[in-house]
């Protein structure tokens, strides 16, 4: 279970800004979201991986690993990737 913050451009699929979703990893959460809100996975994934233009914020961890484990209090955010100077 995790709290997913839905990017505003996807909220028309979910109707809300946050959803609580079952799953032990980010991948499981997204797959579960897909069941609830069909079409959301293809907006976030490319070739079964996180879209290369996105990164995840899972609590304080910035990652692209879909295997990152989550707990019921975990917040998942989908953010643009950042390049530094």
């Amino acid at each position: 279970m995790a709290i997913v913050f839905i990017p505003s451009q996807l909220q028309k699929l979910t109707g809300t800004a946050q959803v609580e979703v079952e799953g032990d990893t980010v991948r499981a959460v997204v797959e579960q979201m897909e069941k609830q809100f069909p079409g959301i996975q293809q907006r976030l994934f490319e070739d079964d991986q996180l879209s290369p233009t996105l990164q995840l914020s899972v609590d304080h961890v910035m990652t692209r690993a879909l295997s990152t484990s989550v707990t019921p209090s975990t917040e998942i955010h989908f953010l643009p990737v950042i390049g530094g100077g």
Binding site: F5, P7, S8, Q9, L10, Q11, K12, A17, R43, L44, E46, P52, T53, S57, H60, V61, M62, T63, R64, E75, H77, F78, L79, P80, V81, I82, G83, G84, G85
Partner: protein
């Protein structure tokens, strides 16, 4: 007084090495001219390459004829995009941002169309560099010029000339049906922005523009490539990240990474501009074709016109606040120029626009827009300087309208631990409040500014800083010193700041560590020197390696002293056990006689932002006759987490500030109607000189980063962020005119003052 550490924030731990100021390990080489930069290499049998570049901002390439050039005696090979493997439309993550290899390949050598003036179209190798230049002029390229689009607002229009016929806006929303120049659209929403503005007593909305600026490193891009007969490719190059160059080369040339060795030479500045490849693949192909090592060094006009400056922007920022000085809502609309290919710095720009404040309600829309300028790249806190200019000027205007002191207003609303950013995540412990308070306590703030045409301004800035992958190995030598092998190219003293962390952990001196930056065959994968990550992440790897060494030393001590490792204790670099005691160095000497070699290993991939904040306080004087702005006094305060080597932390703060001052006051790409940059030289692209600046006073705040054993945050990038708005706010107080466009160069300021006095 140049240096102070704000007393309330000093970390309680006392260190022996960290926080001291040893002479850096490479400085004798660098003050005697012995340090070897890429252009200093003369590889045996080396020849020289030169580029043919598009004279048009946008043109179809009809034909390329290299035959005349190839007939010249001494000309050994030519190269066009046809010599590069067909690119694949693969988007890859380079640790720092992502890259589409089809676009990268097309930027290295134009395919079908030249998309900006200076776009590389062909290249040639010859026995000397003058001959190569002459041969380049003999390569005949037939162009069919196309209409160009040069500014973001124009490029976004429906009737704008398209750069890429197939470009569909990337968005999480429904994709548009028609191609356009809008490469991506990012959106964030927090709360309900309409409610937020309804609750405000004052709402201010302004439009801002900033010009294209360049990182301005003094060393031009330069590489030597040697494609050997056995199929192995070796490249000596000036880069921020040798492994990232290897990865790009492998993808562009479709060869395994193991066939490629990247040797990072000393690097003469980067600031985000030496991550992407430009001349490296071309030098490699020329070397393959002529069988000799090929050096390509760009001229300065090529660096300006054909590498990766940072974007021009158009921004609209609206903020609301209550009469008691609480921000209620914010709205930002940001369009950044990506240059000729998608993938500018709009993402972090959109994430940073309100990152200094606790805003209950906000929306942010960000657009990445392609146009006929060079592909933009990161430049020190990429995107954050643009948006800080917009937000911090509106914040200043709000504070003035509400008659609240500008620092108090910021303190009222400052982001702190627990603040939810507009893009979603919640801050851990951060130091913005401490920085603002340190500025309030500074001698500068407490000394009133007097005199005509003078004004004082303040502004804040934020940058994420990243972690990413770093590897080091550390070999204990027979004399008790440690050789530290690392993959992070050293642009500003990181050999030493990393070595100091290893020394602190082991209880030896910084001088007892011998740091070496090595090639991609000699150390584990290491991400770029960028993202303010090197002292943090590679330092963390060095700390891990030191712990690994310590464990092995304990085992050896146990063997020597004939006791169990559990009975050996270590404190301050002294090993004790079985009634005996030896310093690290003495134990290393003993261990060398009896044991196996001691090699420490540190590999890390910290996945966190280390969250840097900076605050500027600046006094200016504006000459009403010329519009010239003189910086009278400048203070930068920054949360470093823990300053490992304070001199080099100050150096980052001062250098970043100077770049921000240049961006604020003078630096810009001037484009003619033909899309040609009119000022592609250091004479006309006016970077600050020594004579333009005062001393830059620094206040280091230390709010320890919980994700690092010594509390380190990155320090490199954030100091460039606050200067433009701090200076704009100071100029306003000096002249009564608010500026919404960068740079605030003498003609701009003079015209505005004149407009004010004549009522225009």
């Amino acid at each position: 007084m140049s240096t102070e550490v704000a007393p309330d924030t000093q970390t309680p731990a006392t260190y022996k090495v960290i926080g001291t100021r040893p002479v850096r390990h490479d400085s004798a080489d660098k003050v005697t001219g012995k340090a070897v930069y890429t252009d200093d290499l003369h590889v045996p049998n080396m020849v020289f390459g030169a580029f043919v570049r598009s004279p048009h901002a946008h043109a179809r390439i009809v034909s390329i004829d290299t035959s005349d050039a190839e007939k010249m005696p001494g000309v050994l090979a030519t190269c066009t995009s046809a010599d590069l493997p067909d690119p694949w439309d693969k988007v890859d993550n380079l640790g720092e941002g992502c890259v589409n290899y089809a676009h990268l390949s097309g930027n290295v050598l134009a395919r079908n169309k030249a998309l900006y003036k200076g776009h590389a179209v062909a290249a040639v190798a010859a026995t000397d560099s003058y001959l190569a230049q002459e041969a380049a002029r003999r390569i005949r390229v037939e162009y069919e010029p196309l209409p160009a689009t040069m500014c973001v607002q124009d490029a976004m229009r429906n009737d704008a000339p398209l750069l890429h016929d197939e470009l569909i806006t990337h968005t999480l929303d429904d994709k548009p049906a028609r191609p356009s120049n809008i490469a991506s659209h990012i959106q964030f929403e927090k709360g309900n922005v309409d409610e937020g503005f309804a609750a405000a007593d004052v709402v201010i909305e302004r439009e801002f523009k900033t010009a294209t600026v360049h990182q301005g490193y003094i060393e031009p891009h330069v590489s030597v490539a040697l494609w050997n007969e056995d199929g192995r490719l070796k490249i000596w190059t000036a880069t921020q990240g040798s492994f990232v160059v290897r990865q790009q080369m492998a993808e562009l040339l479709k060869m395994p990474v193991s066939q490629i060795t990247i040797v990072p030479c000393e690097i003469g500045g980067g600031f985000g501009g030496k991550i992407s490849v430009y001349e490296q693949p071309v030098a490699a192909v020329l070397s393959r074709k002529c069988g000799r090592p090929v050096k390509i060094m760009m001229q300065r006009d090529e660096v300006f016109e054909a590498t990766g400056p940072t974007p021009a922007s158009f921004m609209r920022v609206k903020l609301g606040a209550t009469k008691d000085g609480k921000l209620t809502a914010g709205k930002a609309w940001l369009a950044f120029d990506a240059g000729a290919f998608p993938g500018g710095v709009i993402g972090p720009g959109a994430m940073c626009v309100f990152s200094c404040y606790d805003l209950p309600h906000a929306t942010v829309d960000g657009f990445d827009v392609v146009l006929n300028k060079p592909k933009t790249q990161a430049y020190r806190a990429p995107g954050s300087t643009h948006v800080a200019f917009a937000t911090e000027c509106v914040i200043d205007e709000l504070a003035e309208r509400l008659k609240i002191d500008p620092i108090e207003f910021r303190l009222n609303n400052a982001a702190k631990e627990g603040t939810r950013r507009v893009d979603g995540p919640v801050y851990p412990r951060v130091g913005l409040v401490e920085c603002l308070q340190a500025i309030q306590e500074s001698d500068h703030w407490k000394t009133p500014l007097t005199g005509p045409n003078r004004g004082r301004g303040v502004a804040c800035g934020f940058w994420f800083n990243c972690g990413l992958k770093s590897s080091v190995t550390a070999n204990v030598n027979a004399d008790g010193t440690v050789t530290l092998v690392e993959g992070s190219t050293d642009i500003g003293g990181t050999r030493t700041s990393i070595a100091m962390q290893l020394a602190e952990t082991l209880g030896i001196t910084a001088e007892d560590v011998i740091p070496q930056v090595v090639d991609t065959d000699s150390v584990g994968f290491t991400d770029v020197t960028g993202g303010s990550r090197t002292t943090f992440a590679t330092g963390l790897a060095a700390h891990e390696a030191a712990l690994d060494i310590q464990k092995q030393m304990v085992e050896q001590a146990a063997q020597i002293w004939e006791c169990s490792p559990d009975e050996v204790t270590v404190a301050d670099g002294v090993y004790q056990g079985n009634g005996k005691s030896l310093s690290f160095k003495a134990l290393a000497v003993e261990a060398d006689k009896v044991g196996i070699p001691i090699v420490g290993r540190g590999v890390v991939d910290p996945q966190c932002s280390t969250n840097a904040f900076a605050v500027n306080l600046v006094d200016v004087e504006v000459d009403p006759e010329t519009g010239k702005v003189t910086i009278l006094r400048f203070t930068v305060c920054q949360d470093a987490g823990k300053a490992i080597h304070p001199s080099y932390v100050e150096g980052q703060m001062q250098g970043g500030s100077a770049q921000g001052i240049g961006w604020a006051l003078n630096e810009e790409y001037f484009y003619g109607d033909d899309g040609h940059m009119r000022n592609a030289s250091f004479l006309d692209y006016r970077m600050p000189t020594c004579y333009d600046l005062p001393m830059i006073d620094t206040i280091i705040v230390e709010v320890a980063n919980p994700d690092h054993p010594y509390g380190v945050r990155g320090v490199g990038e954030v100091p460039i962020v606050p200067p433009p708005p701090a200076i704009a706010n100071a100029i306003y107080r000096a002249t009564g005119v608010r500026f919404f466009e960068l740079p605030m160069s003498p003609p701009t300021v003079w015209n505005a003052i004149k407009g004010q006095t004549t009522g225009e």
